[in-house]
C-alpha cells in the first residue's frame, strides 16, 4: 500500500528488483530537475502493464505526471506525449513481457525516428503479475506454468535487438546497483534521441536469478553480469556489437550514437522550412 494513497492496493514482493529501479529513477529525475531547474511536473512517466508499470504509482516525493496505459503500448503513448509537447521529459517504465513481447513491434519505428524519450526496462525474465509464465528473456529449457515441459525457444538478447533495429543509446544496468543505474538513467535522459536503459531486475518470487546475475562465491556461482571497462568507447557501433556478443551481460553504456538527431528537432526544422497557407488559403485551392 502506497504511503501517499491508502486505497492503492498493489505491492511489490519483498526483495523485488523493481525497488532499486524506483530509487534510481527518483534520484535521476531529482538530479535532472535541479540541474535544469525544472519542476517534477515537467516529467511524464509512461507505464506499461506488469509489475514494472506499477512503478508509476509507487514513486516517493513530488509526483511527476503519469499515464498508465495498455499492455505493450508504452512507446506509442510516449510518442504522442513527446511530440505533443517536446519540452516534456518522457520516461517509459516497462518490463520484458510488456516491452519485448506484446510491445516488440513498436521498438523499431521509434528507433528509426529517434524519438527523444528514455525507456527503462525492468527485465526479470518472467511474467510476474500473472504468476510466473515464460517471457521472451526466460532461459531455454526453463520450466514455468506456461512451459511445464521446459521452454523450447531460445531467449531473446534484448541488447542485440536494440542495436540491430537502430536504437541510438543503449545502456545496461542492474537493480542491485541503484546509484550506478541512476547515473545511466541520467545519461540516457540527457541524450538527444531514443534511449533505452535495460535493467536486470530479478523477480524474487518466480524467477530469483539474483545469484546467477551477481554471482555467489559461497555457492560457487560465477556472475553472468560484468562491468564494461572504463576505456570502452560506446560511440563505435561495431565494438558495441562485439561487446554484446562476447557472452554474459555487460553493464554500462553499450552504445551511444554521437551523430543522431532527435525526431522533435528534425520535425521543428522541417516545419520552419515549409510554408503552408492559412486555412482560408487552403480552402481557396478548392474554389471554383
Amino acid at each position: 500500500m502506497s504511503k501517499k494513497n491508502p486505497e492503492y492496493d498493489f505491492k511489490w514482493c519483498p526483495g523485488c528488483g523493481d525497488f532499486g529501479v524506483k530509487r534510481a529513477i527518483e534520484w535521476a529525475t531529482e538530479k535532472r530537475n535541479i540541474e535544469l531547474e525544472v519542476p517534477m511536473e515537467n516529467t511524464v512517466v509512461v507505464a506499461g502493464i506488469g509489475c514494472s508499470g506499477n512503478l508509476v504509482h509507487l514513486l516517493d516525493g513530488t509526483q511527476p505526471f503519469g499515464i498508465h496505459g495498455l499492455h505493450g503500448r508504452t512507446l506509442p503513448v510516449a510518442f504522442g506525449v513527446k511530440m505533443g509537447n517536446p519540452d516534456l521529459n518522457v520516461i517509459i517504465v516497462s518490463g520484458d513481457g510488456d516491452f519485448l513481447s506484446i510491445g516488440g513491434e513498436h521498438i523499431a519505428p521509434q528507433a528509426q525516428r529517434n524519438l527523444n524519450v528514455t525507456a527503462i526496462i525492468m527485465d526479470n525474465g518472467v511474467y510476474g503479475l500473472t504468476k510466473g509464465q515464460s517471457s521472451p528473456t526466460t532461459f531455454f529449457g526453463e520450466v514455468t506454468p506456461s512451459t511445464p515441459y521446459g521452454k523450447i525457444e531460445q531467449p531473446l538478447n534484448p541488447l542485440e535487438l536494440y542495436l540491430s533495429v537502430g536504437v541510438n543509446f543503449i545502456a545496461s544496468g542492474f537493480s542491485s546497483s541503484p546509484r550506478k543505474l541512476a547515473d545511466l538513467i541520467n545519461q540516457a535522459m540527457s541524450y538527444d534521441g531514443f534511449s533505452i536503459v535495460h535493467v536486470q531486475s530479478p523477480c524474487t518470487t518466480y524467477n530469483d536469478n539474483f545469484d546467477i546475475l551477481k554471482g555467489n562465491a559461497k555457492k560457487g556461482i560465477a556472475p553472468v553480469t560484468w562491468e564494461v571497462s572504463d576505456d570502452y568507447d560506446p560511440s563505435d557501433r561495431q565494438k558495441a556489437q562485439q561487446l554484446i556478443s562476447s557472452g554474459g551481460i555487460p553493464l554500462g553504456v553499450i552504445y551511444q550514437n554521437p551523430d543522431a538527431r532527435s525526431l522533435d528537432s528534425r520535425f521543428a526544422e522541417m516545419v520552419q522550412k515549409v510554408k503552408v497557407g492559412d486555412l482560408e488559403q487552403q480552402m481557396n485551392v478548392f474554389a471554383i
Partner: protein
C-alpha cells in the same frame, strides 16, 4: 422540354483517365453555375480493374448520385456489359470503337477515342475528345469547354498556348463526331449560378478542413482506404507552431499516440477505416477510461475484416458506439453530406474537448470519394471549444466526483496518473467496489454534456416518419421529396448526432407509429439502436457495396407505409 438534370458515367479499366474525365466535366459545369456531384468506385488495386466515375449535373442542388444514366461512356466491352442496363430509355452510350464494336442499336455510337486524340497531336487528349462529344449530346453552349480549358492551362508556362490549342482541337473533334452520329439528349436548362462563393470538394478534404478549423493540433494516422486522403491532407497542411502530424507504423500506434497527445493537452485526431478501427478498440477503451479527449474518424467501407475496401457500406455504427470491451458508450457523429463532413469534424473535436473523452466521427467511402460544389465554408463562424484546464495546486484529485473536472496538463500543476485500470481520484489503481461504481457512473454521466438538440424535422404530424443516417441522407432525402411531392403523408427526421441522440428528437420519435430507417448494412444497426431506446423503428437494408437508388427507396418506403396502414386497419 429542356432537361434539368444529366448523369454521365465513364466506365472502363481504372487508372485515372476515367476519374479525370468525370472531374473535368464536373469542374466545367460547376464553373458555369450548375450543381454537381461526382461519384467514383474502383477495385482495391493501383492500376486497372473495372472502375467507373460519374458526374450528375443539375440546375438544382444534387442530393443523390442519380439512379439512371443519361450518357454512358464505355471504354471497353466489360464496361459496356456491366453498365449498359443502367442507361435510361432515350439515353446514349458512347463506346470506344478502338477497343470493341457493337451492332447498330439506335442508342449507341462508337468513337475511336485514342485515334482521335492522336490525330490532334496529343495522345493524352482522349478526355477532351469525350468531353467534346458529351457537350454536344447535352447541347452545352459551345464556349463553355474552350473557355474552361483556356483558363485551366494558362499557367504562365512556355508550352501553355500549344496545350490549349491541342485540347481545344480535341474538344472540337469530339463535338463533331457526336454531331455526325445524329444523337442528342436535348438542351440542358440554363444554370442558376448561386450568389455565393463556391468550392468543389470531396468529403475527406471537407472533413480535414473542419478539423483544422476546430483547432486540431496533432494528427497521427496510417494509410487505409478510404481514409488515406485525410492523412495526406494533414501531412501537407497541419503544419505550424505547436502542431504535429505523422504517419504511424500501425493503427495501434495511431490510437495510442493520439491518446498521448490528448493527455499532453493537444486536440488530437486520427483517421481510419474498418480494419484499422478494429485495431483501435483497446486504445479507445483507454481514452474512455482515462478521460482523454481524442477524435477517431472512421471512413466506413464494406466489412467485416478486410471486406470491401473501396465500396460503400454503413456497417460500423454498432462498433463505433461499443468499440471496446467493458461498459462503454462512445459519442458518435455521422456526416451525411460533403458539407456535413466539415460540420461533423467541428462538432467531434468540440465534443471531445467538452466531455474529455474519445469521439467517433463516421463518414463513408461514398462521401470520401464524391466531389460536390458547395458554398465556401465560413471559417469565421467556427467556435472551437477547449477543455477545462486545471490551474490550481498539486495534490489535485483529477477524477473526483460525477461531473467533468478540470484536466491537468503535463508541465503544469496537478500531476496525476491517467490510468487505464480502475482508479481513485488521483488516478491510482484501485479495486474498491465503491470506486468502480462511482467512476463508471462518472464516465457515463459526462455524456449528458453532449445532449445537444440539433436535428432536422419536417411534417411532424405524420404518424410514420423516415429517418436515415450518414451517407444515405442524400438519396433518402430525394426519395422523401418525391413522395411528399406525390402527396404521401410521411415525416422527416435526421441528425448527425447518433450517440447520444438529441433528447427532444428521441421524445418525438417515440411518439411515432413507425420510423423507417434506410441504412446500408445487413443488421439494421441504427434501427436496432432506436428500438433499444423505445422507438418503433424498422430498417430498409441494402448490402451490395453500392449506395441506395432513389427509386428503390421510394418503392420500399411506400410499401412499408402501406403494410403499416394495413396492419392498423386490421387492428
Amino acid at each position: 422540354m429542356r432537361n434539368k438534370d444529366f448523369v454521365v458515367r465513364f466506365a472502363g479499366e481504372g487508372g485515372g483517365g476515367l476519374v479525370t474525365s468525370a472531374e473535368l466535366l464536373a469542374q466545367v459545369t460547376a464553373q458555369v453555375g450548375y450543381h454537381v456531384k461526382t461519384f467514383v468506385t474502383f477495385p482495391s488495386q493501383i492500376m486497372g480493374g473495372p472502375t467507373f466515375a460519374q458526374a450528375r449535373i443539375s440546375t438544382e442542388p444534387v442530393l443523390s448520385y442519380g439512379d439512371q444514366l443519361d450518357v454512358l461512356v464505355a471504354f471497353d466491352r466489360e464496361a459496356y456489359d456491366t453498365h449498359q442496363e443502367e442507361v435510361r430509355d432515350g439515353g446514349v452510350i458512347v463506346y470506344n470503337s478502338g477497343d470493341f464494336t457493337l451492332e447498330e442499336d439506335g442508342k449507341s455510337f462508337g468513337m475511336a477515342v485514342d485515334d482521335l486524340a492522336k490525330s490532334t497531336g496529343n495522345a493524352r487528349a482522349a478526355n477532351m475528345v469525350l468531353l467534346g462529344a458529351i457537350s454536344h449530346l447535352v447541347n452545352m453552349p459551345e464556349n463553355y469547354l474552350p473557355e474552361f480549358v483556356t483558363k485551366r492551362f494558362t499557367r504562365g508556362r512556355p508550352g501553355d498556348e500549344e496545350i490549349i490549342k491541342a485540347n481545344i482541337a480535341a474538344l472540337s473533334l469530339g463535338r463533331e463526331e457526336a454531331k455526325n452520329s445524329g444523337f442528342s439528349l436535348g438542351d440542358l436548362e440554363d444554370p442558376n449560378p448561386p450568389g455565393f462563393d463556391q468550392i468543389m470538394i470531396k468529403g475527406n478534404d471537407a472533413l480535414s478542413i473542419g478539423a483544422i478549423a476546430a483547432g486540431l493540433d496533432l494528427f497521427v494516422g496510417y494509410p487505409i482506404s478510404p481514409a488515406t486522403t485525410v492523412l495526406q491532407y494533414m501531412e501537407r497542411n497541419l503544419i505550424g507552431p505547436g502542431k504535429f502530424v505523422y504517419q504511424a507504423s500501425s493503427e495501434v500506434e495511431s490510437i495510442n499516440a493520439i491518446v498521448g497527445g490528448g493527455f499532453a493537452g493537444k486536440r488530437a485526431m486520427t483517421s481510419t477505416a474498418g480494419p484499422g478501427f478494429s485495431l483501435m478498440s483497446e486504445g479507445l477503451g483507454l481514452a474512455w477510461m482515462a478521460e482523454i479527449p481524442v477524435v477517431v474518424v472512421d471512413v466506413q467501407r464494406g466489412g467485416p475484416a478486410t471486406g470491401l475496401p473501396t465500396k460503400v457500406e454503413q456497417s460500423d455504427l454498432l462498433a463505433a458506439i461499443h468499440p471496446a470491451h467493458g461498459d462503454v458508450s462512445l459519442p458518435v457523429i455521422a456526416a451525411g453530406t460533403v458539407q456535413e463532413c466539415y460540420e461533423a469534424a467541428i462538432i467531434a473535436l468540440n465534443w471531445a474537448e467538452r466531455y474529455q473523452g474519445p469521439v467517433i466521427l463516421l463518414s463513408d467511402h461514398g462521401l470520401s470519394e464524391q466531389a460536390q460544389n458547395i458554398p465556401k465554408f465560413d471559417l469565421s463562424k467556427v467556435v472551437p471549444e477547449r477543455r477545462k484546464i486545471y490551474e490550481g495546486q498539486n495534490g489535485y484529485e483529477r477524477y473526483a466526483g460525477l461531473e467533468v473536472s478540470p484536466m491537468p496538463i503535463p508541465g503544469g500543476p496537478g500531476s496525476y496518473v491517467a490510468n487505464a485500470s480502475e482508479h481513485d481520484g488521483m488516478g491510482d489503481t484501485t479495486h474498491l467496489p465503491s470506486r468502480h461504481i462511482e467512476m463508471t457512473e462518472r464516465r457515463f454521466n459526462k455524456l449528458k454534456l453532449l445532449e445537444d438538440d440539433n436535428y432536422e424535422k419536417e411534417n411532424t404530424d405524420a404518424p410514420v416518419a423516415v429517418m436515415t443516417w450518414g451517407g444515405s441522407k442524400g438519396g433518402t432525402r430525394e426519395a422523401y421529396n418525391s413522395m411528399i411531392g406525390e402527396g404521401q403523408k410521411i415525416g422527416w427526421y435526421y441528425t448527425m448526432q447518433l450517440n447520444p441522440l438529441p433528447p427532444q428528437l428521441l421524445e418525438e420519435l417515440k411518439k411515432k407509429e413507425l420510423v423507417i430507417v434506410p441504412e446500408l448494412n445487413y443488421l439494421g444497426q441504427f434501427s436496432s439502436i432506436l428500438r433499444s431506446q423505445g422507438v418503433k423503428a424498422e430498417s430498409i437494408t441494402q448490402y451490395d457495396g453500392k449506395p441506395f437508388k432513389v427509386e428503390d427507396l421510394i418503392q420500399q418506403i411506400t410499401e412499408r407505409v402501406k403494410s403499416h396502414n394495413k396492419e392498423l386497419n386490421r387492428s
